[in-house]
Symmetry: C2
Subunit: 561 residues, 2 copies
Amino acid sequence: MQITYPSSQKTYIKGTLHDIRVGMRQISLLDTVCVENGVETREPNAPVIVYDTSGPYSDGDIDIRRGLPRLRESWIEARGDTEKQPAFSSACADRQLCNKDREADRFPVVHLPRKAGKGKLCTQMYYAQQGIVTAEMEYAAIRENMQNGTLGIASHVTPEFVRDEVAAGRAVIPANINHPEAEPMIIGTNFLVKINTNIGNSALSSGIGEEVEKAVRSCQWGGDTLMDLSTGDHIHETREWIIRNTPVPTGTVPVYQALEKVNGRIADLSWEIYRDTLVEQCEQGVDYFTIHAGLLRAHLPLVQRRTTGIVSRGGSIIAGWMTRRNEENFFYTRFEEICDLLKQYDVAVSLGDGLRPGSIGDANDAAQFAELSVLGELTRTAWKHRVQVLIEGPGHVPMHRIKANMDEQVKHCHGAPFYTLGPLTTDIAPGYDHITSAIGAAQIAWYGTAMICYVTPKEHLGLPDREDVRAGVIAYKIAAHAADLAKEYPGAEVRDRALSKARFDFRWRDQFNLSLDPEKALEYYRAGRTGDDSDHCTMCGPHFCAMKLTRDIRQKQECIL
Amino acid sequence: MQITYPSSQKTYIKGTLHDIRVGMRQISLLDTVCVENGVETREPNAPVIVYDTSGPYSDGDIDIRRGLPRLRESWIEARGDTEKQPAFSSACADRQLCNKDREADRFPVVHLPRKAGKGKLCTQMYYAQQGIVTAEMEYAAIRENMQNGTLGIASHVTPEFVRDEVAAGRAVIPANINHPEAEPMIIGTNFLVKINTNIGNSALSSGIGEEVEKAVRSCQWGGDTLMDLSTGDHIHETREWIIRNTPVPTGTVPVYQALEKVNGRIADLSWEIYRDTLVEQCEQGVDYFTIHAGLLRAHLPLVQRRTTGIVSRGGSIIAGWMTRRNEENFFYTRFEEICDLLKQYDVAVSLGDGLRPGSIGDANDAAQFAELSVLGELTRTAWKHRVQVLIEGPGHVPMHRIKANMDEQVKHCHGAPFYTLGPLTTDIAPGYDHITSAIGAAQIAWYGTAMICYVTPKEHLGLPDREDVRAGVIAYKIAAHAADLAKEYPGAEVRDRALSKARFDFRWRDQFNLSLDPEKALEYYRAGRTGDDSDHCTMCGPHFCAMKLTRDIRQKQECIL
């Protein structure tokens, strides 16, 4: 499998602290050509460097049966604080490996897991608090500077700044030591806004090959992280194929698999089964877990009068468990044990919002904010263990209530990065929820949300196929970039300026190559094209082209002004 | 041609002041069915009434060769202040009617034009200032209340409130006396946010039939007004077919046709040719004209250093004219004469922003705001003539600069309704500019913009086809509705609540029927459907459906709480 971008070259910047090289995409541009009084002049346009999430797929053809190169393996080994294990330790992983029925589905290469040595800590947060700038931190710092269009570190984002933000919990580098294939990246309000893509099959749907394809295409279009939300058959195998083949951090909601292990019988869920699932996924290389630990029994009465009750799958599972068992949420009561486990692999916890509003009418209600304040408490607990934390957020929220979500999160969660689903700003457009939610996502990201989780056109209607993933990723790249511009992130406007200059110059190819989806732009352009349009645009035709007229005016004005 | 909506009935509300009936769409819903302990209970769901822009197309099949019924003709006649003319008075219209070459393209029915009687005024603003509540005002008032889900006038929007807003210039009812087919509607910050659709062929593109089809589909999907931006052949005939067949106010940019009359030679444009074009279009029934009267010679030097110069077509034409002729903008110098003409037909003026920014880098610059302050001056002039005024706005603006646009408009333009194109919040997504701009449009509408002009996915790349019109209209209906919700417009949330309740009840058909695009929702749903899903959703499958789990929990909780 391979990713190619038009007129683009993969280039690398070397680290100065560590022996690392950070890949990025350099887009070459044509000259600006002016013809005045019959004389042609040419002015070169500098190439534009953009953030690159495509990993090794843009270096050459990847054999997905072998998986990606293990970029971080040597860094992790060199730190000497982790140990390779002689075998997988979860009961489930063992069964998976021995189950001959699934031979055909199995990823062909086995990598034994690694975990922290006895008495050692191996999380990025721990290192940062020790004053250490890891290779991961330097890598992430270099990437954040690429939108400057300049090579090397030029803005406020230095490796030391990355370290300080991670130390303070204001930013997260999801980096399970068992997912060395992933390129380090950083999620935090003081960095470029990131987007997450959800994929995964259900009992009703697609196969492993299709999921790997979606994962790779998400990286092609710019997805920064990926969640595998599979709930159907072969969860373990699907995830293995995805993790071994994705160059971005990968998350899951482990309770989905735990529930599969008890055949969907919620009351049969137990800490032991859940814990074993966490171990299985820690060893496999999942970089962050969504855990709905903030939804307590005391919150359930608050949900009774809602229009749409609980719409989070994980939230409804644990609510069902509490109701059936008449016990407190075990994600909450066992949270210290969970952290104890996660820190041995540097898995980040993404504190799920099980009570996120599923409709405009339920936004910002008592249930939602009660849970959010528990998430703040859990943040402190996780940090005590040096476990990195993300806070998940809504959901469906009308525009005038979005800011309050950000404010409440800041108030309760001590600066941990906010990671929101949308929010969707109206309920009335199923089939177009990538748009209802991009409107909200752009705003909440501007207000400070660090990562926005995409929504596809099929939200509420079905699982996304490849084209839906594309529509969702591009809509969210737009929202994230709009927020970067609004936050005046240094260098964010370089790509806009270059593209607009290309547009004004009628350098059509450059305009497309600089765009978020060159293929789509070219397709639309070709549909409207009827002849030579090197000096006018395809919308207005040759007599009416505003940009052509402006150029003419500029030439004329030099005489009269 | 016909428009049908699923499970919907056209219903009418009668006026109390005038003998009028206002069409709207009533969506019937299924019962909510609960089965508890084997006992089935049913609870009816009230039908939802929604604003309807489909006009007579949802009453039955319309023969577009005859045109729509002339709804307002008797109202206009009854006022006795206008006179039917014995013939068309523009030179161009005469030539059109006599030109045998175009016989095949000609609309088959001729309606002679009407204009104000000598010494009479016939604009809605004039009537309002006299304290008169016209049929148009009552009609618009009734429509604004429909989203309440209640029949009849229930909220703050009374016919008298409409009158007062029109009298103050804070709202516009575009209602040329020669377009009696259009159903009255109101544009103003204190009313539901409206959306405008642009259609029209260019020298490069489509035929008359296709344009009429786009116009009708725009009304089906919810477009409130329509602009015919044709620049190619048969401008007059294309417009005639559109106006005679659209139930919504229709606008144009008259300079496009004026320029066609001088074969695209900008320097040959003259007041006489332009004025004759205005007369031609006033007589034909155009409801509002975009006129770029605020772009002055003094502004041209401000454009020199812009990334994308002038991107407004009308703006670049008049800038070119000023440059070539070394004269002041004649739209500005002749503005009183223009108003004198427009008021005889009640054509509203939409003051064009010829210097709207065409890229993020040019947003909110001196050029843009210099023109805006001239638009404020022209607003006063138009109002003196009782001509209704809209103010056009940008363009490309990053999110953090959007609010300043609204503030400047309020500061300079005395409360006249703001009508913006987007704004697009980033330049880097050609092919997806319906999304880059819906993000900005939702925000500026929330801040008070009265009408947002749609942008289609083909913006910057080509002219929109039918599917692009659909994508643009729905994206803008989303933005407008998100703004209505954020403004807490009374009753705006009724449709969201009804749809979300249908979603929670697994009343799939109701969910689709209540949505902005039932056909698309159904198409996506069917693509993901594999069996019986009457009690779970198509995304999660039967074991994992959050909404099913919540319902189960509610039933259980009644015992334990």
